[in-house]
């Protein structure tokens, strides 16, 4: 009897421990085409893995909000695609979803991933890796802020309003093609670019640099001031 009781206690303990470990380190894996009707939130202690060949479509103005770990494991012949329902491939229509937000403390690795139709894919104070990805038809294809230092390698940015925007951040760019955007690369005040070979051509404005207020008479500087004041007050 004592042995049975001991065995029962041990068994319950093991089950509880397994549940605790599972809850503490939960991983979401997306292995097949999926339609999401609400934002995908990857919390601080969570991992989300999107497998090769998967298409993730949003039905509604949603976002992928990452505070934990995001791994997009696309392959050259089986890329991952993130877009919305009903959006044509390569479309330049208005954005139909919010975009990916990589928050402070998050980690992300996106490889062979095509991101279409987002308003803004934002990187806040973190160092994600974008390798061989495509950004098509977004408003801000990649918006790096607040000391973010993303590694962007062998990516294509095309048909976006803004290709890469660096606002108080330092993206590392290597072997990327930034073409047919309205603004290819926009460097805001206090941003630094660490760049190797990149092709930035065929954009309405290839590279736009904000010198700071009072020196640049371009209307976009007003826009930057506007955005800042809106956020401050």
């Amino acid at each position: 009897m004592k042995f049975l009781e001991l065995f029962r206690t041990l068994l319950v303990g093991i089950i509880l421990l397994a549940l605790w470990v599972d809850a503490k380190d939960s991983t979401l894996e997306i292995k097949k085409d999926t339609v999401l009707t609400s934002s995908l939130i990857v919390s601080k202690d969570q991992t989300c893995i999107i497998h090769p060949g998967t298409t993730l479509r949003f039905d509604g103005y949603c976002a992928i909000i990452v505070s934990g770990l995001l791994i997009v494991k696309g392959e050259h012949t089986r890329p991952v695609r993130i877009t919305t329902i009903g959006r044509a491939h390569g479309s330049k229509e208005l954005p139909t979803w919010k975009g990916i937000e990589l928050h402070k403390g998050s980690e992300a690795l996106l490889r062979h991933c095509r991101i279409e139709g987002a308003f803004r894919n934002a990187v806040y104070t973190t160092k994600p890796v974008f390798d061989s990805c495509e950004f098509v038809g977004n408003h801000y294809a990649l918006y790096c802020v607040s000391k973010a230092t993303p590694h962007i390698k062998s990516c294509v940015f095309t048909r976006n309003k803004y290709g890469i925007v660096a606002n108080f951040s330092s993206p590392l760019l290597l072997d990327n093609r930034i073409m047919e955007n309205y603004v290819g690369l926009q460097m805001m005040v206090h941003s630094r670019l660490i760049a190797g070979r990149n092709i930035i051509t065929g954009n309405t404005i290839d590279i736009q640099s904000e010198e700071g207020m009072g020196k640049n008479h371009d209307a976009t500087s007003l826009k930057e001031v506007w955005d800042l004041m809106s956020q401050l007050y």
Partner: protein, 278 residues
């Protein structure tokens, strides 16, 4: 002796007259638990008056919407959701206007209730993950008066200040809001007894590190404003509130900016158990 007696009688008479003429004290309070749902109209305009050497320009955004404030079953929280929003702007492009429109529909703020009064705690703002939600939270704090916990007479004054930290693209900033309130007056409108509360406020900003300081150099880091609210004293609800806010002109040579904001909140209808009241 006669003089002393007369002085005492005068003094007693004076005190008696003073207490007779003094206005009664009122409990100025809001109790959202009186109904299941409150529908308010909200209008908000932000404008920047820019002068760049000889050129002048006014850029603006206006947002109007309905706020549906629904009391949760537990009566411990009120959920505030924006709907039917309209946006116009001469600075934002179509994509950005559409983005604001879409995200505005998702703005849902949950406020705890204590005795029917919504609470705007300092932790409440930091719990909102979306930067736009935080912006709206700050606007509500500026727009809604804080009411005292005890009965007050017209002419009474009180104040409050609060701080919050938030993130900008350049880094963290701490904002401080100081409000000074006065119970202006009481009036009667048909069957309703209405209190008018006025206030002046100052909203100032402090960058958290030197990088942010440099980026914000030249921008106005404080502004002042005033507000007024009308509260139904007997039925305990906010009838209307409005604020105006502006910053001083920036000191940069060749460039000036004055930032202005106006917001107004007005009760449209209340709903109790499926019944609509106007």
């Amino acid at each position: 002796m006669k003089i002393i007696r007369r002085s005492i009688y005068c003094f007693i008479g004076f005190v008696f007259l003073f207490y007779c003429n003094r206005q009664p004290a009122f409990t100025v309070a809001i109790d959202l638990l009186a109904n299941d749902q409150w529908i308010y109209s909200l209008s908000y305009r932000q404008s920047g008056n820019y002068r760049w050497n000889e050129a002048k320009e006014q850029l603006f955004n206006t947002i109007s919407c309905e706020l549906a404030c629904t009391i949760e079953e537990s009566q411990e929280n009120v959920s505030v959701i924006a709907r039917n929003s309209k946006i116009s702007s001469n600075i934002l492009d179509k994509s950005e206007v559409e983005h604001i429109h879409q995200t505005f529909s998702d703005v849902a703020i949950q406020l705890p209730l204590i005795n029917g009064v919504p609470q705007f705690s300092d932790t409440g703002i930091s719990s909102l993950s979306d930067l736009r939600q935080r912006g709206w939270y700050r606007q509500f704090v500026k727009l809604l008066p804080q009411l005292p916990n005890k009965p007050i007479r017209p002419g009474a004054t009180w104040d409050r200040d609060r701080q919050w930290s938030f993130q900008t693209p350049q880094g963290d900033v701490t904002g401080t809001l100081y409000q000074s309130f006065v119970f202006d007056s009481v009036s009667r409108n048909d069957d309703d007894l209405l209190a008018t509360i006025g206030w002046q406020f100052r909203h100032s900003l402090r960058p958290s590190d030197s990088g942010v300081t440099t980026s914000l150099q030249g921008l106005p880091l404080y502004g002042t404003g005033k507000g007024v609210a009308i509260i139904n004293l007997e039925k305990k609800y906010l009838v209307r509130a409005e604020i105006q806010f502006s910053t001083p002109e920036t000191p940069l040579p060749g460039f000036s900016l004055v930032w202005e904001e106006k917001a107004a909140l007005e009760l449209l209808e209340t709903i109790e158990s499926g019944e609509v009241k106007l």
